[in-house]
Amino acid sequence: MKLVVFFCLLLVLTTSNAYGYLDPGSGSAILQGIIGALAAIGIVLKLYWHRLLRFFGLRKPTAYDDSDEDESTGRPDSRNP
């Protein structure tokens, strides 16, 4: 239980950006939370959709999927964990 409370606190504390000099705007920040949740679901669905297509051999893995040149994932490079 303590652990759960700790992680909840951590999540709350880390949502604010301690270094920012801009006023992000409360409306803009709240909207990001909503759009972000929708976008995250979209990204996961897209990922599974592509995996499904690959599983059935309908789509070959391309260099684009996890190329270093591809910035579209915005995730740390998974090939060099």
Partner: protein, 467 residues
Amino acid sequence: MQLDEIARLGSSFRDPAGFMFTHEGTLYRQVNRFGSRSYDGLMESGLYAKLCQKGWIVAHEEVDAPVAEREQAHKIIKPEPVPFISFPYEWSFGQLKAAAIRTLDIQLAALKHDMILKDASAYNIQFCQGRPVLIDTLSFDPYTEGQTWDGYKQLCQHFLAPLCLMARRDIRLGQLARVHIDGVPLDLASKLMPRSSWLRPGILMHLHLHARAQAAYGESDTASARKTGKTRPLSRNGLVGIVSGLRSLIDGLDWKPAGTEWADYYQATNYSDDAFTAKSRHINAFLDQIEPRQVWDLGANTGHFSRLASDREIDTVAFDIDPAAVEINFRHVQKKKEPHLLPLVLDLTNPSPAMGWAGQERESLLERGPVDCVMALALIHHLAISNNVSLDRTAEFFARACRHLIIEFVPKSDSQVERLLSSRKDIFHHYHEDGFEKAFLKWFDIRERKRVEGSSRTLYWLSLKPS
């Protein structure tokens, strides 16, 4: 080091992470202790190397001196100079779009290195070598999972709103950026957009609903604070989704330069091919002798004559009033990867003023000069006859703008001037070659005078008189 030798830039004060200053004509950036995590994060995460390799960020070197404010200083860096500082209200549609996409691509690259672009100001982008480049080295923070993007609102105001308005309402609405220095307010953009834009999910979310969210939480001027809301954590996937979504939305916006004032100019003038060739030959001969380091071509249209300078690797800015001509010019620059030509939108009868806090944040056109050489080809009749500026005042303006002037005098017998005079009374009794020379001789020496064969025009090379 005397403090009075160090001049802080008027535009560099918002972010306590650091500031820009000049010392003996060289530009530096002080990274404050406050910004040490931002700067060190950028350098140590590999992000800086990555962005440099792609040419997306201005390169810099760390130097020991000069230090502007020692008690706050973490590092001093010397960025590579930008040939000409331009502002978003001077960019064509394509330039603003390219700058937006570059900002979003940098954000996606930053997230890969566990950093985040903390702002999204269009003023942080400059065009170097024909490409948009981030010039604010201190725009990054370490990324923490769950945080929202502080620059989201700024991105929508600085880029998305003006681009949507230009693409879907009227290209001239790009000039709203000149009134609203922190970007077009979203409630204003939402009101001005056509109703059909509500059917586009991206525009609906990031512009219309964004404006309403701001109103609901008391951010816009017209709304009272009605609600207080709690920001929910934003996952990395969610943030990437927002950034990628904005990127594809902006990438899908398009504007085609058609039906322009100048589109058929070269066909419509009374220039024969011979006159065109002669004009180019004379300009080339003048440039050979002037050897300028930088040229401003005022009234450049799509940049045909600007390229006489930029093709010699002279940094050349091609200004024109017509956003379509500038757009065509910029697309050409992109297609041919021309590194020395920067097309910009400018109404010379109302040039970019000094703007922002204390009128010192964004420099006026003249404050960004004087330049080695101005070219003013087929321009004088527009200033003198369309805008009623006397030749004396025109000469005085050019004397403040440049050291050498390549200027074309277009007499009343020219068909272009006849056209301008066709709908109005000719009150321009001093508008003739002698009147022109008399006005300009007050400020300039005539170095050479060439008739443009095959036309009634004259090309001058003038040099500013020693003061």
